[in-house]
Assembly symmetry: none
Homo-oligomer: 211 residues x 4
DNA sequence: GATGAATGAGCATTCATTCAT
DNA sequence: AATGAATGAATGCTCATTCAT
C-alpha cells in the first residue's frame, strides 16, 4: 500500500514535470492534455485521475514556483542579521532561482498573465505576497533605523516589478546571458531607491561578482 | 469618394473599439470574432474585410496604446528643460494615460503577455522601446551632471518594470483608487534610485506620503 | 482487448461506409464531416479520433476500391491459362465489380477527378497502375505470340480509358441498365484493337450484339 | 453605343480568359471570384454584371472548349472523302487542339468531373455528343462497307474514353511530351478495334509523323 | 456600367472532459 | 489505477452573392 502511494506520487510528479515542459513550450492555452499525458508516459485518463482538470495542474505548478521562491528567499534572509544585507541576499537568491529554472520563470511571469480570467486572482495574490515580503522587510529596516521612512507598500510593489521586468526580458530574449549578471547593478539601484546610506553600500561593493 | 473613405474608417474604428472591449473583457484567447462582430454592429465577414485576422486586430490595439503612451510621454518631456523634471513629467503622464484607459492598460500589460508565442517578439520590442526611452533620458541627465553615472540600461528596464507592476496591480484590483495617487511616492522612489540630490527632491516634497 | 480492437475496427468501418455514402451523394467538397459523423452514428470528434482529416477518409475509400478491383482482376487472371482469355476475364470482373458498387465507382471515376489538386498525384498513380496491369498482360500475350506486337503502354492507357468511360456513362446515367451488358461488345472491340486472330474471337461470338 | 457594346464584349472576354486561368490553376471549387475579378482587371461587381454566377462562367468555358473541338473535328472530317481517313483526321485534330490548350483540357477533363452535382448533366451531355459524333461517322463507315458491322454506340463511347484517358494522363503529368506524339499508335489501335482491313492501314502507315 | 463594402451561412478542425471497460 | 474511445461545444476563417453609391 505504501508502495502504491509512492507509485502514485511518482506518477503525479512525472505529470507535473511533463506539464511544466509542455506549458512553457506551448503556453497555457496551446498546451494539450494529450501532449502532457504522452510526455508523462500516462494516458489522458491517468492524468485526470491525478488532477481534476488542466487549470489545477497549472495552478499546482505556479504554487510550486511561488513556494520555491518564497522558501529560498526566507532562508537567505534568516541567516542575515543586517536588514539591508537581508534584502540583498533575497534579491540574489531570487535571481539565482529564476536563473536556474527558465521554464518555470516563463510560466510564472509570462504565460500566467494572460492564461485567462480564472488565474487573475491567483496571480494578484501571488504578486501581492511577494511584494508583501519585501514590504515587511523594508518595514523592519525602517524601524531599525537602517533606512529612512518611506512608502514601503509601494516600494514592495515597485521592487517586485523591477525584478519581474528584468527577469522577463531575460526570459523572452532568445540568447540571454546569465541572469545573475544583473545582480550588482540591480542591487545598487534598489538600495539607492530606499535611501540606503552610502557607507553600507560601499561595504558590500566587493561581492559584485557571484557564482 | 471621400465620404466612402470616411465611412470605411469609421467602421474600422468601430471594430477596434469593440475588439478592445471584448479582448479586455474576455482575454485574447476567449475573445470570439463573433462577439467582436456583433459588438461593432457588423457581420463577421465585415470584420474580415477590414482586418485579415484576429491577431492583426490585437496587434493594432497594442500599437495604438504604445503610440499613445510614447507620444504623450515625449510631449511631456519636450516642454521640460530640467532633465530630472522631464522624467517626473513623463512618469505622471504615463500614470494618467493608463489611468484613463484601464481596458487598454489591461490589454497591454496583462492579456498581451500570455496571448501566445506569436506576440512575444512584439511584446519584447515594445517593452524594450519603453525601457529605451527611459534609458535615453537617464543618459541625458547623467551627461548633464544632474545625476551620478549608473547602469542606465538596467535602470530603464527596472523603472519600466516598477511602473508596469504598479499599473498591473491597479488593473487587477477589483475596486482600485485612482492610479495617479501613486505618483508622488513612485516619483520619490525612482528619483532616489538614481541618486537625485536631496535638494531637488525637497522641492517637490509637498505631496509626499500616502498609505 | 481483442474485443476492443474489434469494436474499434467496427466503428472505423461504419465511418468509412457512411463516408462512402455521403461522398458519393454530395461529392467530395460538399460532403460535410457533420453528415459523415451523423450517418455513422458517431460524433464528429469520434470521426476525428479514427481519421486525422477528411482527405484521409477519401483516400482510404479510393484505396479500398483500387485494391478491390486489383485483387479481383488478378484473381480472375490467375486461373486462366490463355493470355487472351485472361484479359477477357479481367474485363468481365471489373465490369461486375463496378456494377455491384455504383457509389464506389462514382467516387473513383467521377468525384476523385475534381476533388482538388491534392488528389491528382494519387489519381494519376492509380490510373497508371491499372493501365500498367493491362500493359503487363498485353506484353505477355505478345511474347507468347497470341497477338502481334503493338504499343502496349498506349494500349493499356487507352483500354483503361475506354473502360472508364463506359463505366462513367453508366454512373452518370439516371436509370442505367446493368453494366455487365456491355461486356460482349466491349470485349470484341478491345480484342480487335490488339489484333486478336479471328478464330479465338469466334469461340465466344455467341453473346454478340446488343443495342 | 456600338463602341460600348464592343467594350462590353471585350470585358466579358477578359473575364473568361481570367477565369480559365484561375479555374485551371486552382480547380473549380478553389477558384475565388475575387481572383477572377482581379485577374480580369475588373471588380467583383463587374464580373457579376456580366455573369450571373460562378457556375455560369465555368459552363461558358466548357461550352467554348466543346464547340472548339466539335468545330475543328467537323472541319477536318468535311474535307476528307474516305470514311476511315475521316476518323483519323478527327483524331489528329482533337489531339492537336487539346495539345495546344492544356489549361482548357484540364478544365474539360479533370476539373469538370468533380466540380459538383450541378455539372454532371452538362458533362454527360457533352460526353454523349462527342461519343455520338464518333458513332455517327462509324455508322457511315459501316454503311459504306469500309468496315464490318459493330456496336457503334459502344465504340463511340469507348473511343472517346480512350482518347480522354490519353489526354488526361498528359494533363496530369508534370512534364509531358507533346500530345501529338501519341497519334500514330492511337490511330492504329482504334482502327484495328473496328476491324479496318489491313490494306487500308498499310496505306497510311507513312504519315506516322505529324507537324 | 462599375465598384467594393457588407453579408451570413457554412465548415473543418481542436480539445477539455467523461466514462465504460 | 489506468486506458483510450467517444463526446460535442466552440471558433477562426472563407467566399459566393448582393446592393448602395
Amino acid at each position: 500500500m505504501v508502495r502504491e502511494q509512492k507509485r502514485g506520487e511518482e506518477r503525479k510528479e512525472r505529470i507535473l514535470e511533463a506539464a511544466l515542459g509542455v506549458f512553457s513550450r506551448r503556453g497555457y492555452r496551446d498546451a494539450a492534455m494529450d501532449e502532457i499525458a504522452g510526455e508523462s508516459e500516462t494516458s489522458k485518463g491517468g492524468v485526470y485521475f491525478h488532477f481534476p482538470n488542466k487549470q489545477t495542474i497549472f495552478l499546482a505548478l505556479l504554487d510550486r514556483m511561488a513556494n520555491l521562491l518564497m522558501k529560498r528567499a526566507e532562508e537567505a534572509i534568516a541567516v542575515e542579521p543586517d536588514p539591508v544585507k537581508r534584502i540583498d541576499a533575497a534579491l540574489l537568491v531570487v535571481l539565482k532561482t529564476f536563473g536556474d529554472h527558465r521554464s518555470l520563470a516563463r510560466l510564472f511571469l509570462v504565460e500566467a498573465m494572460g492564461a485567462g480570467r480564472e488565474f487573475n486572482n491567483k496571480m494578484l495574490e501571488m504578486r501581492r505576497s511577494f511584494a508583501g515580503l519585501i514590504t515587511r522587510h523594508l518595514d523592519d529596516a525602517v524601524s531599525e533605523g537602517a533606512i529612512p521612512p518611506l512608502d514601503t507598500n509601494l516600494a514592495g510593489v515597485a521592487w517586485f516589478g523591477a525584478l519581474n521586468e528584468v527577469v522577463t526580458h531575460w526570459v523572452l530574449e532568445s540568447d540571454p546571458e546569465p541572469l545573475e549578471h544583473q545582480y550588482p547593478a540591480l542591487r545598487d539601484l534598489l538600495r539607492r531607491s530606499i535611501g540606503v546610506p552610502q557607507s553600507t553600500q560601499i561595504d558590500n561593493e566587493t561581492n559584485g561578482n557571484m557564482a
